[in-house]
């Protein structure tokens, strides 16, 4: 056994341990803390699997925004913990669930082990067609060119999730500000952090987005970092969440998929195909779409975390 494979096993063991804790912990809050560390460690696995783009996503979502979302909810729902826990299913059910889950996991593991060797791959095809876009990051090529439809629809999914979250608002607060009003504590640590970190974070976010054309990174990763910075400013009470009725906000929220769609339709009109880019303009077009998508993602993720409108305008 080489040092490297020992390391992989250790990593897998630690990750599995945290995952078990996340499921087994009695208190939800503790479980969620476990989940945050799990997300952190997962980034290591993704690097080990040579998928740095995914590692970036995992670090930004699993270790960052996802943690904020779940920890906040766990804190809010703490009072419901004991009454709901009493609805725990009987031991028979739990044993049954354990057995069946284990069976499914075993079947899945068997499937993975028995995957054919040599593995089929589209890497050569992706490499051969990379010239069509002029971008060096193969994952960006897949997301923005070869499977652009998925990416466009995924942005619509994000938007619909936001519509879903907003639709939970009480009627009379429609159009108001999402989430609770965070009071600013001008001398507080948080306010200090919220002034210091965002400039750095915005630079990092833009860098991660920009480097994504040729190296790991991209619109989603960059957008997530920007969203986190915005959220920090909101949580510190420095800036309030915008009203959901704001027209400007809504334009930002649809800019990504909107421009994607427009460019796609332009490809139609020029005569090649929907979502096809003319080779000469492929790179600037893709980057243009990605700029809009980064902004849209940042705004959408920030608002998804802020929640449904809870205060009418000016409150």
């Amino acid at each position: 056994m080489t040092v490297a494979s020992a390391l992989e096993m250790a990593l897998a063991a630690v990750v599995l341990g945290v995952a078990t804790w996340t499921i087994a912990a009695r208190e939800t809050f503790a479980a969620v803390v476990g989940f945050v560390t799990y997300g952190l460690l997962l980034a290591l696995i993704w690097v080990r699997l040579d998928a740095v783009d995914v590692a970036l996503v995992e670090a930004a979502i699993g270790g960052g925004l996802g943690g904020v979302l779940l920890l906040g909810a766990a804190a809010r729902l703490r009072v419901t913990e004991t009454p709901t826990a009493t609805e725990r299913p009987s031991a028979t059910v739990r044993v049954g669930a354990a057995l069946l889950s284990a069976a499914v996991a075993a079947a899945l593991a068997t499937g993975v082990i028995l995957l054919p060797d040599p593995a089929p791959t589209l890497a050569p095809a992706a490499a051969a067609n990379a010239t069509a876009t002029g971008l060096g990051n193969p994952v960006t090529n897949v997301l923005m060119a070869f499977r652009a439809m998925d990416t466009m629809l995924e942005k619509v999914v994000l938007l619909l999730a936001l519509v879903g979250v907003w639709s939970l608002a009480p009627d009379r607060l429609w159009g108001g500000h999402p989430g609770p009003r965070h009071r600013a504590d001008p001398l507080g640590t948080l306010a200090f952090l919220a002034r210091l970190l965002p400039p750095v974070g915005i630079v990092v976010g833009i860098y991660v987005f920009w480097t994504g054309k040729d190296h790991p990174g991209g619109a989603f990763q960059g957008g997530t970092i920007l969203a986190a910075m915005w959220l920090l400013v909101m949580m510190a009470g420095i800036a309030d969440a915008p009203q959901v009725s704001s027209r400007r906000l809504r334009i930002v929220l649809i800019a990504g998929p909107g421009i994607f769609l427009a460019v796609g339709l332009a490809g139609f009109a020029i005569g090649s195909a929907f979502l096809a880019y003319p080779v000469a303009y492929a790179k600037p077009l893709i980057l243009g779409i990605e700029v809009a998508m980064t902004l849209t993602i940042a705004a959408t993720l920030g608002l998804l975390l802020a929640g449904a409108p809870e205060r009418s305008a000016g409150q």
């Binding site: 040092v3 804790w21 945050v36 460690l41 970036l56 943690g67 009480p170 965070h182 009418s312 409150q315």
Partner: protein, 92 residues
């Protein structure tokens, strides 16, 4: 050099695993958050080492993202309880 770094990486991973015990035990939420923070810092160190070991320079960007965002969980933790104060449910 690679073997050395891999070994240190394994060692830091072991430390992280030990840190998990504090998440298990608590007792206070603050202890758990602290352990999570240690694991965050350790994770960044591990990532940097791993990036060097596997010669994937972009790993530093992952570490950068983690360093930037690892604070967020803690901030959510500190903000807890304020959000469910009666004055913030929108009725006031």
């Amino acid at each position: 050099m690679i073997e050395f770094m891999t070994t240190v990486l394994g060692f830091i991973l072991a430390m992280l695993a030990l840190g998990l015990v504090r998440i298990l035990r608590g007792p206070a939420d603050a202890d758990r958050m602290m352990a999570a923070q240690l694991i965050g810092t350790g994770g960044i160190a591990a990532l940097l080492l791993l990036g060097t070991v596997t010669a994937v320079p972009a790993t530093v960007d992952v570490a950068l993202t983690l360093a930037l965002l690892a604070t967020f969980a803690s901030i959510a933790f500190v903000k807890k309880g304020r959000a469910n104060a009666p004055d913030s449910t929108g009725d006031a």
